[in-house]
Assembly symmetry: C2
Homo-oligomer: 233 residues x 2
């Protein structure tokens, strides 16, 4: 969390957020009005935040990672009416997104161009997701998958894997990070061929699939930037 | 900057970095050995950092934004020999990358899948860059361009624009942010058609090109996440 985000939470009177994220804020919640709700209640939460702000409160609407990447920034701006926009000053506080936090634990997989794709088919048509995976493969992008799998949603990951296997070597390094930078963090580097067998891929995981140049070195996954390094190294 | 990055810099004895970035750290440099060098000296800086660490120092090698995205994380891991790796514990501290900080100033352009492409042709073949832009267009990705232009390098941006104009409406919103979150920050939202005329596009700028669904609303650029919002909003 950046100091800017910390201060915003410290200074507000009302905090609105998904239950699981609020638990991570423990010490910061005291003395504030807390409005929490379950997953898939994004619109309800944003409406609540607007309502509370119109009532004269400083309100924090919480996302994990970066609110601007598949987070709450979009819902709140989409919902905000013209009249409301004039009354409520909104600030989006950027954060460290999962692509960055997970890459830092894997080594340096994002040193060259990459694509970020969410495998959640709740809000995006499955054919569109598959089209994007194919396009990213054709462009030899490193691919970062957000929301790779949930208890009920297994197919998009299987389908993604089938597409990846058509375009990339089965030996392509794949990095999987679960609960990055939390107490129960798990970091796995495996080949594309074996990826689907990894039990740790769930909603708390991020999956980074290398491009044609990505390699492993010791415990690291590295996509070369393209520097010409001398042979002494 | 995250508190983790701040503490790492506070606790080290040697700081290695690109001159312009070290100037941003002013107050933190006192009493430390400072090794700075110019742009394109990435390998030299990483070698220096390894040398100093082998000499028993705690060393910080500085990147702006996130060191894992086109930053110094890759160079240092690529350079590190096997023997050295055993002697030097390395930690990559993730940060807020330009895609996140710039998106937060534009509104919510990254609410759906996006591709990150560097237009610097120093280390990547120009044909590969163009191929990636075409692939990202075909997949209807929002596209984030890093290093869009320098004083001497103008052609890749012109070429990128020509490709974008083939695939996307000339009215597609484009967000340009220069020196995000610094004193001389500039934020511009303009149509794809008019993009090339923007003088502020340089090495300190990041350019975000919307997908087919991206729209503007007041002073914001928004890519809808796909929620079905009721008509009352």
């Amino acid at each position: 969390m950046t100091p800017k985000a910390y201060r915003a939470i410290q200074d507000c009177q009302v905090i609105v957020g998904y239950k699981a994220y609020l638990q991570l804020l423990k010490g910061l919640l005291e003395g504030k009005e807390i409005i929490s709700s379950g997953m898939t209640q994004e619109i309800r939460r944003a409406e609540k935040a607007i309502e509370k702000a119109l009532g004269g409160n400083d309100v924090c609407l919480i996302s994990s990672g970066d609110p601007g990447i598949y987070g709450m920034a979009g819902v709140i701006l989409e919902l905000l009416g013209k009249e409301e926009a004039g009354k409520i000053p909104i600030e989006i506080v950027p954060g460290v997104t999962a692509a960055s936090s997970c890459a830092s634990l894997l080594g340096a997989p994002l040193m060259n161009d990459f694509a970020v794709i969410s495998l959640s088919d709740l809000l995006t048509d499955r054919r569109m997701i598959e089209k994007r995976i194919r396009s990213a493969c054709r462009g030899d992008f490193v691919i970062v998958f957000y929301n790779p799998k949930s208890r009920k949603r297994i197919k998009p990951l299987q389908k993604a894997w089938q597409i990846l296997m058509k375009y990339r070597s089965p030996q392509t390094p794949v990095g999987i990070v679960r609960n990055a930078r939390r107490a129960d963090e798990e970091v796995i580097i495996i080949s594309l061929k074996e990826m689907l067998a990894v039990k740790q891929i769930d909603m708390g995981a991020t999956v980074i699939v290398g491009n044609s140049k990505t390699c492993t070195k010791g415990r690291y996954m590295i996509t070369p930037r393209g520097y010409e390094l001398t042979q002494t190294h």
